[in-house]
């Protein structure tokens, strides 16, 4: 098919926008940690770009969007026919009528895989071994993300069932949230949890992250239409409305509950809205997007307190925002879906006369993906923990993972140290520093 320059122009832009979300996430998460862990937190996002890109070119794209010969196996994962991406170079455009080069579609999907992995890291702030995270990121992407993307978007079993997930409420958010919960259990609580406040060290960084996430999310959501049409416009507007109203709902809840509306609340509310509208944005009416946004903001504002009740240290609320918000959005489609894709056997929601069938499917989707992801992440995490260890030592944790793992600190703003910060636990004897050649 001939390339549609307009569609392709938008999809290239959308891909760049979604890629920017991962640095955005790094700032959002980084600002929320204490100053002594900001670099490690951001590095977990940035290294996900590295590991997932490498896995994608090797086999990730192919596992998610390729085909294997067997119809049955194809329900669960793709094939190895597009390994190395070389085949996409020659078949210039996707053969599905979208009119964009295959590599653009592949790059767009790659950025989704990256951010899904990065999202998980918020659950294990301050205390994870960097090498262990590197290994986890690539193994989880391989065993969980690529297959799940295939289930829903690659023609797998959930797609065949008619599950609706416009831009990834299930594939991205439920998936990442469940894995985050599993890792919070595997790694255990931070030293000082529930005693020390552990408040965000830099809320300007948090807001920067949210600003970039919100901006990039338009690529994520409107881009997921894979075309430039009025549905893309609908997805865009719904994204804006749900996000704004979710942020509003969160700070209203705070005002009534705690007596003040916080910056962190507005930021978290916006993310909760973005998450919840993700699966729904192209399928619902503006009023429904507003309602879903308000609901997501209010529910997640309470859901982030769950960890204190249940006793897991999901440090930056991956569960409360992404698992809860993603599931909320996915399930609500069973009620409010107005414009589903007929060709994939999807039905309208209960409120639009669609009956209970679609609602049932919409519950099945997040449950299946959430369980699979939770179990797999727990197993992968445990194996890593038993072999290479997933957690740094307590002394390193108290001193700060930045200086102990990366030999750096985030900031050095004073006049005294302006020539460099030394490790507070530096060895006393002039260390036998490795001679550097080059």
């Amino acid at each position: 098919m001939k390339i549609d320059t307009g569609t392709t122009a938008w999809m290239i832009t959308a891909t760049a926008l979604v890629l920017l979300m991962t640095p955005g996430l790094a700032f959002f998460y980084g600002g929320m940690t204490r100053a002594k862990s900001v670099l490690n937190m951001m590095m977990m996002s940035f290294v996900s770009i590295i590991t997932v890109s490498a896995a994608w070119v090797l086999y990730g794209h192919s596992l998610a969007f390729g085909t294997n010969g067997t119809e049955f196996l194809n329900k669960f994962f793709g094939g190895l026919d597009e390994v190395g991406l070389q085949s996409l170079v020659t078949t210039a455009t996707k053969d599905d009528g979208t009119g964009m080069p295959s590599l653009v579609f592949s790059a767009f999907q790659l950025t989704f895989a990256i951010i899904t992995v990065a999202l998980i890291s918020g659950a294990i702030a301050d205390r994870a071994k960097f090498g262990a995270w590197v290994v986890f990121s690539v193994v989880w992407a391989t065993l969980v993300y690529f297959p799940v993307a295939h289930w829903v978007w690659g023609g797998g079993w959930l797609a065949q069932l008619g599950i609706e997930d416009f831009a990834g409420g299930t594939v991205v958010h439920v998936n990442a949230g469940a894995a985050g919960l599993a890792l919070a259990f595997v790694l255990g609580k931070r030293s000082g949890w529930r005693k020390d406040p552990m408040r965000p060290h830099n809320l300007t960084l948090v807001l920067l992250g949210v600003g970039l996430l919100w901006f990039g999310w338009f690529g994520f959501n409107a881009g997921s239409e894979l075309a430039v049409d009025s549905t893309a416009g609908l997805a865009f507007m719904n994204t804006q409305l749900a996000t704004a109203l979710a942020a509003g709902a969160w700070i209203v809840v705070e005002k009534f509950r705690d007596g003040h509306s916080t910056t962190l609340g507005a930021a978290s509310g916006a993310v909760a809205g973005l998450v919840a509208i993700t699966p729904a944005c192209g399928f619902v009416d503006p009023w429904a997007a507003c309602a879903l946004g308000i609901l997501a903001g209010a529910v997640c504002a309470y859901a982030v307190g769950l960890k204190y009740k249940l006793g897991y240290d999901d440090s930056l609320d991956v569960v409360g925002v992404h698992l809860v918000g993603g599931a909320l959005g996915a399930i609500s489609l069973g009620l409010i879906a107005a414009y589903p894709l007929a060709e994939t056997a999807q039905g309208t929601g209960l409120f639009y006369g669609g009956g209970f069938t679609q609602l049932g499917k919409q519950i099945l989707g997040p449950v299946a993906v959430g369980l699979y992801s939770f179990i797999m992440a727990w197993i992968i995490g445990k194996i890593i923990d038993k072999t290479m260890g997933f957690r740094i030592s307590q002394e390193d944790e108290v001193t700060g993972v930045d200086i102990t793992t990366h030999a750096e600190t985030g900031y050095d703003l004073g006049t005294i140290h302006s020539s460099g910060v030394a490790s507070p636990n530096a060895p006393a004897v002039p260390a036998e520093a490795k001679k550097v050649d080059a």
Partner: protein, 112 residues
């Protein structure tokens, strides 16, 4: 009365606070500092270059205590801050003429 000043490793602050509180000290003032001492002189490698490190982050703890308690307070701090490695820091004590609680204007031991 005495002013006891301790310059310690930052990650020991929590231990020192806890030990002083248990001993019965009701207040203290804490600030950031940088230490220069034996611990200096180690070499770090960064971006492929080696350099000497001079100043190491420390925390300064100041405690006003009654004459008779001073020795014990010092011992409590030293015990809590000790790791046995170079750079553990110093504690010193200085005579104080008078102490006033700003809120009430009380003077001397009552002001602590």
């Amino acid at each position: 009365m005495k002013l006891i000043t301790a310059v310690i490793k930052p990650f020991k602050l929590d231990d020192v606070k806890a030990a002083l509180e248990q001993y019965g000290i009701k207040g203290m003032t804490v600030s950031e500092a940088s230490g220069y001492g034996r611990q200096r002189g180690h070499t770090e490698v960064y971006r492929g270059a080696e350099y000497q490190v001079d100043l190491v982050p420390k925390v300064r703890v100041e405690v006003l205590a009654e004459e008779d308690d001073a020795e014990e307070v010092i011992d409590v701090i030293v015990k809590a801050a000790q790791t046995g490695k170079i750079g553990d820091g110093k504690v010193w004590s200085v005579p104080v003429d008078t102490v006033i609680r700003v809120r009430t204007g009380e003077r001397g031991p009552e002001a602590l």
